[in-house]
Amino acid sequence: MTCNKKEDQLIRYLLTILEQTEAAKIENHLSSCQTCQKRYERLQKTRGLLRTWKPVDPPPDLQQKVMDDMRAQKIIEEKSFKKSSFISAEGETKETQTESEKTAPMVLCKKMSNYKITAFASAAVIIVGIVLGVNFINKSSTPGVAWGELVEKMESIDFYSFKSQSISMDSKSNTYGFVTQQVDRYYISRDGFRIDHHYPWIFYDSITYASWLDKTFISTFPEIKKYTRILLTDEYINRMHFREDPRRFIKEFMSYNYTRLGRKNIDGQEVEGIEINDPKFRKFRFEDCIAQIWVNVTTNLPVLFELEGTSGHGTVETKMVFDNFNWEGEYDSRLFEPDLSGYRLMAEVESMPIHEATAIEALQRFSQLADGKYPRSLDHIHTRREVNNLYYRMYKERMGKGHLFWEDEDFDWEGYTSLHSLLNATCIFYAELFTTDKDVVYRGEKVAADDAALPLMRWKIADDMYRVLFGDLRIEDVSKAQLIELEEAFES
């Protein structure tokens, strides 16, 4: 009976939370007391039972999501307007620099990094802050940028390259933000474009080539020597042509009123900036929007283009950065012609018409693979990654961990490539609704196939008429008042 008291001690011994001397005593006792030996075995067995609760596998895209968050954070920390310092021809460098860092850049940075903690400050206040901060600047005596000629000068260039990043943050979502686009190098020429993607985690790097002459869109995976090809129709080429070219943005922005920002230095280049804060400018895509263009004073060509805008009633903030421009490179057509020797063609499909029917088919195909979910956003590069995640997950479940679908002999390359093609056309369809001012909203993050009564996407088809695509992909045309009612669900 005295041994009953020892149960507590045995548990402590098992869990190694006994003092050394006590533990030694128990060990001693165990070697001589059969009752306690049995008891101890029972405890060990129970502990073993408790350990049958096994760990689960994290979702396959979790690491990627975290890295996206971090990139967003890193861009906020380093890439914002604060990076470079102003210089002034009249030796006011120090003062100007301090002032500039205190006002324009910091307001934006702070807004980006604290957005979750505090409600968004009104964009109007921010715009005022920037204007106050920079208005006094330019007293430079050297000739400035000829802004009126910028568009013409840019358009006369046949070939250039740059880096692009775009982050969106949704203060209503639990995640802190995600990089929707991250392209290491973008090459644009009159005959097509090329995008170099580097995926640090699960996926292979890929290089995509769009050629207007060959009418093809080729995606290559150099590490495994495979490629896919989408044959482009003329309709597709005509409508895609300039879509990927940031000169299009800049041209559009230059048609609005702007404020001069004066001069500063970016990576050793003397630049002059303007900021677009014309109220009419918001109609372009966002509810509120600020853009800055910084142009090299010697070459008269852009060095940095940044845009920050809010949408979704102030809850979604987007920041786009185009930088690392190279306007002076020699045009080399080989850059746009993939060397496919030794490569295997895995699939060839045709581009899809840019039409709502294509969008419906794309969303349907996607949701069938994704347990009823839809792509988070209809952005070309972002949907591409989502499709990759989807296939990765499917193959992992089927084939076991560490299995990369690209390496699988039976992989459905045809289905994979046609889904990309469908989504490409959908992204263009969506982007065109944007640029033609159709008040388009897409809610792939909030609406799933089960949500038959919720609007997944909507756009204006007449003055008081909206076309609504519901969660179950049914289409209905409704009045503005009806639409407001339908969208009440998202207000809370």
Binding site: L15, L50, V56, P58, P59, L62, Q63, M67, K401
Partner: protein
């Protein structure tokens, strides 16, 4: 990267904002840390958000990392605090079973260190079912522990932390850790014996 230890990686992250070092830390700690969060809050989906937020904070606050601590205790402390916030915020019933874990999330129960069943290399359907049910029962029991006991028990028994490490992570005295660990085990032992839960199929 792979040959560096966590603290070296953390140093390159602090000093140079090293992308790759961060990635390596993420890779190393993903599975255990994610599982810690899943076990604490009992929801696979919300666990993803908390996991993302944990690493977001690690990166954002990297400069406030105290090198006297180890990376993993610091990371778990951040995660533990986020879990507590989440549990408070939701005001959710802490005894919610882990039903939210989609059954297909772990379609290969023998994939990692699950090879406890050594009698046959090809367990029968019945055996698998039994194991699955057993795991479910255990999961529900641990889930039902009071929050204070559960937080210690999970770190000790599933994450393999020592008592001093747990004291650092949860910011409670060492003695408290030991007594909570002891209590939680006793409580579980009692329920398991009362309900006659065993891993014998008969």
């Amino acid at each position: 990267m792979a040959d560096k230890n966590d603290d070296q990686l953390m140093r390159s992250l602090i000093e140079r904002g090293d992308f790759e070092a961060f990635g390596e830390l993420l890779k190393r700690h993903e599975k255990p840390l994610f599982n810690y969060i899943v076990r604490r809050i009992g929801d696979f989906h919300r666990a993803q958000d908390i996991f993302q937020e944990t690493f977001y904070r690690i990166f954002k606050h990297r400069k406030s990392f105290n090198p006297e601590y180890h990376f993993h205790t610091w990371a778990y402390r951040i995660a533990a605090n986020l879990c507590i916030d989440e549990l408070r915020k939701g005001g959710r019933d802490l005894e919610v079973p882990l039903e939210d874990i989609r059954p297909n999330q772990n379609p290969h129960p023998t994939s990692s260190h699950t090879n406890s069943h050594k009698t046959s290399p090809h367990p029968t359907l019945e055996e698998n079912l039994f194991k699955k049910e057993l795991e479910e029962k255990i999961k529900n029991l641990v889930e039902a522990l009071p929050e204070k006991l559960k937080s210690v028990f999970i770190l000790a028994e599933y994450q393999g932390f020592s008592c001093p490490e747990i004291a650092t992570i949860l910011e409670i005295p060492l003695g408290t850790v030991k007594s909570r660990l002891h209590h939680s085990f006793k409580q579980l032992l009692r329920v398991i014996e009362n309900r006659g839960i065993t891993n014998d199929m008969q």
